[in-house]
Symmetry: C2
Subunit: 374 residues, 2 copies
């Protein structure tokens, strides 16, 4: 974070109000344009709301992936999760979108649980704890509706025989200087964390290794993970004879705290998939909003949906753009008060949670169909 930046985005920290246009410039990615959306339309039944709403806003090599696809080379999807705690609604964004891509493109998904990284990064966490969260989080992944025949979820720890073999080949091409420049490692960083980028890059090449043929890879993930692919996987790919992975990046869903803050240490700032609708209701009713200080001011001046978590959760959960527009214009005009708005969101989220938790419970019976183990 340089002094002129008002925000930080790294794989371990997202801080401040993120300027996504600046991020595209800074990371050197490309914006999702209408042209790309038009091109996608040729292959999908409908454009996903997350694309229309530019929650997925940036990419690398989407054109290339579509060229490959159109010339008959199918791609696989790769995304993942750092299992340091329970899944919250923000985590679901890339997974929901990935499930859409799997369905529309009939693509295999390799889903990595970085339980090693979370253990290595967090002083407080034991390996048993991150392994337990791998299981808990996997239930949420499965609840998103992935195809058990085409989805392979793996824990770094439990699948390390296969991954380590690929990771050592990657690591041979990455010096400490490079890792330091990409991730900001310091002299007091532990050597497990320093090696870890090799593990996170490994799944980019995993299906190619398993099947003995070069397969294009598309990574849907929040933009904070870009470093791994830009700095490591895409650098090393040609040296190992693999394609560079393409990427499509999502924004972050703000938390419920002041200024959209979401903090693992403050569970009231996030809605977890294991929260009961009643708990979620309480969190929503206490949330920070983009509304005015008083009802009078709100009615006169209207609110600011752009900075309002309630609005962002609608963006995530409401299917039609018409519904969003209604809420948005109601808020801006002052006709919709924050109280009503939160009540409505609480109802939407309550329904979502009830449904998700049912699927999550079912996932317990079929989880082994998804898990890839050595």
């Amino acid at each position: 974070m340089t002094s002129e930046d008002a925000f930080t985005v790294t794989p371990w920290e997202v801080k401040g109000e993120v300027d996504y246009d600046k991020l595209i410039q800074k990371f050197g990615t490309s914006p999702i344009t209408d042209d790309i959306v038009e091109r996608l339309k040729k292959h999908v039944k409908e454009i996903h709301p997350f694309l229309r709403r530019r929650i997925f806003f940036s990419h690398r090599d989407m054109d290339w992936i579509l060229n490959k696809y159109e010339s008959g080379e199918k791609f696989f999807l790769y995304t993942g999760r750092g299992p340091s705690g329970h899944t919250h609604l923000g985590h679901l964004v890339p997974w929901i979108f990935t499930q859409y891509l799997q369905k529309e493109f009939d693509a295999e998904l390799y889903f990595q649980m970085t339980d090693d990284e979370k253990f290595l990064h967090n002083t407080e966490l034991t390996l048993d704890q991150t392994l337990a969260y791998t299981y808990e989080n996997a239930l949420d992944v499965i609840a998103c509706g992935f195809d058990p025949k085409k989805t392979f979820i793996f824990s770094d720890i439990e699948y390390s025989k296969t991954l380590y073999k690929i990771a050592v080949k990657i690591s041979k091409h990455i010096t400490f200087s490079t890792a330091k420049a990409v991730f900001g490692f310091e002299n007091n960083t532990n050597i497990g964390m320093i090696f870890f980028p090799s593990f996170q890059a490994a799944p980019c090449f995993l299906p190619s290794v398993l099947k003995g043929t070069n397969i294009p890879c598309l990574i849907p993930a929040a933009i904070d993970q870009d470093n791994y692919w830009r700095g490591i996987a895409r650098e090393v790919a040609p040296k190992l004879g693999f394609y560079k992975p393409a990427q499509i990046h999502s924004k972050f869903i703000p938390g419920l705290g002041k200024g959209g803050k979401m903090s693992a240490s403050e569970p009231e700032t996030a809605i977890f998939t294991v929260d009961t609708p009643a708990v979620a209701h309480k969190k929503i009713m206490s949330a920070f909003t983009g509304g005015r200080a008083t009802v009078k001011e709100q009615k006169e001046q209207g609110g600011t949906p752009e900075i309002c978590p309630v609005y962002h959760y609608y963006n995530l959960l409401l299917k039609t753009d018409k519904e969003i527009e209604e809420v948005c214009s109601g808020c801006k005009s002052g006709s919709l008060l924050c109280g009503e708005d939160k009540l409505r969101l609480s109802e939407v989220i309550g329904k979502f949670l009830t449904e998700h938790q049912r699927k999550r419970e079912d996932a317990k019976k079929i989880i082994e169909k998804f898990m890839l183990r050595d």
Copy 2:
């Protein structure tokens, strides 16, 4: 290597004429004393020639290991090999001694093949090559006569599921600064090499992890490997709730080149276990010796066995001290000429190789009994 040192000893380089007393001081180990040898006599049928001849010359915590043993806590043995090429006679020194310890103390042996390290360290080597050498070198280990019921040979790559889980726990306690100070890593060192010390330390705790109880560990190894145990395993052990591994260190067997040089890039400077007796004969007859420039000088002034590889190979291969003394005094007095001496060594080595190669061939049939795999 500081400017005043005339030699370097690191896990990847042994250079110059090694002053073993200085090394004990520098590394902070303890010399093998007559007291220790006397104490060992209580437990073994006979003192191994390598101990009598102080080829094993240094240790850490041998007293402690014997205290444990005498109080009824059995220890396990751990040693290993970096499979970057074929085994030469120098490599056999710790293995022969380890086999003796296994037999005398009825101890389990965990034998690590660091095929990952050799791949990561050598630009030229592919992973397939180091894996192939793991197999070749394992045959030599088995030919040393280890008990198949109590010996577990494993490749880092093939046993990485178990090892990685231990290694990440170790690595969490080792900063880059520490690894740099211990191994001299630099900014251009690859991140696989930086992580690797965690893998080499892991077997110190492996049986304790597998059996769920703390078991003392004794490592017989050449002294160049000391860094791993001093700087990593012994530092981390108490943090993970394990005993610090004890060690017993051997000297290096000089090569056949000028000044006792042995170089992987010059195969004529070492005798490999796969060399035919004829090839070994040729190498021995061309070897550098501690003899004088001319027969006349040799007869008048005698030779210098201490700097002579022929003498060191006798130390390794002749069973009785009487035989060694005969050769030694013959050389010093000038009555034994280098030519005869070499012919005799060639005969001894030829017999050794024939016998070893027979056992090595037999090992191919039983290797799977020894291999530990995930």
